[in-house]
Symmetry: C2
Subunit: 179 residues, 2 copies
DNA sequence: GTCGGCATGTAAGCTGTTACATGATTGA
DNA sequence: TCAATCATGTAACAGCTTACATGCCGAC
């Protein structure tokens, strides 16, 4: 789908190696697009073969060699083409909800533990998103204007996680009210 | 992942054909687990081979023959095993956010149109979820108690869609404020 | 001396999508 | 007569995960 285009976006603003990309995923895009290192390296290979990237080996003194990838004009054109095309609405496949749906076949304790595990994950995600938001809000006007669209994606994360946690409260109330 | 288990859950409460399952997906589970007919038929084949289902052909007068699948004891055991096991938190891959993140490379109009398209989809989903909720709330106590866990999954859908739409308002404000 | 970070990949397998394929019946 | 519903599949491909594989450097 759009891992290809996520990579093009990241390399458009700054050329880099597969390893660099993985770090950038963790910092920003990774909150709404996941990729493991194996997939990134494979995708980079494909993007090079397609002529959207070019690659230059860069020797380093103390570190292993890097392969620095940068967009070609064709890659830039492809990115613009993709941006002009409608994206498919997301399909959701949420195993936790499948489990809850069938929860009558298992114990309430089991469900409560499962919810607690997931709540921790969502709580931590929300905390780190809020920390990023604080940093953003402390920037000057010019920087905030430049980052206004990435900031909107951050807001999506924040509102989404808050809604998840509000839902988790409803679930806990229901599970405790009738244990 | 858990398409297998979603199918086991649906067949646990009521044996049925692949076609029946697809209808049931559309009515309930489909709001948080998607599957095309091709995948369902293939999965049914695998589940039969694994010994979790058994299958009986059922001739019909005016309609094509049906293959009715039902859980075996091994299938039931597998379902219980899966329910006792923690599920992985969802990974999110949201192409719309990727596009918005890179929105500086395209026009504001393009982004506004994209948002409008997605807003329609989410609005319609929310409406149908709210309609299901109204039906649920009109049920008697006994029925509501029986459906309380599926109802929680419905609530997840409702809260999630409402949060999405609230976010879309923020986005529109930002996109219109600086067109 | 061991753990985490830097840096890159291959290969097998599972999951999911798209395209192709068929054919009857019912209602507008 | 045209579209929708019923009913089932195969085949090729794309996307993603898991396991395997290597090796150096710096900090604690």
């Amino acid at each position: 789908m759009s891992l290809k285009h996520a990579i093009l976006i990241l390399l458009e603003s700054q050329p880099g190696s597969g390893y660099d990309l993985l770090k950038r995923f963790k910092e920003g895009l990774g909150y709404f697009w996941n990729a493991k290192h194996q997939q990134v390296y494979q995708e980079l290979k494909k993007l090079n073969e397609a002529g959207w990237l070019e690659c230059e080996a860069q020797a380093q003194e103390t570190r292993p060699d890097k392969k620095v990838h940068r967009l070609t004009p064709a890659g830039h054109a492809e990115l613009l083409r993709w941006l002009g095309e409608p994206v498919q609405p997301n399909k959701i496949n949420d195993a936790l909800l499948v489990k809850l749906y069938a929860g009558a076949h298992t114990s309430t304790d089991n469900l409560r533990e499962e919810m607690a595990r997931h709540r921790d994950v969502h709580r931590k995600t929300l905390d780190s998103l809020l920390a990023i938001e604080r940093d953003y809000l402390a920037l000057n006007d010019e920087q905030r204007t430049r980052l206004r669209l990435p900031y909107l994606t951050l807001r999506r994360g924040i509102l989404g996680e808050q809604a998840w946690l509000a839902w988790a409260d409803e679930v806990d109330q229901e599970l405790n009210g009738s244990s």
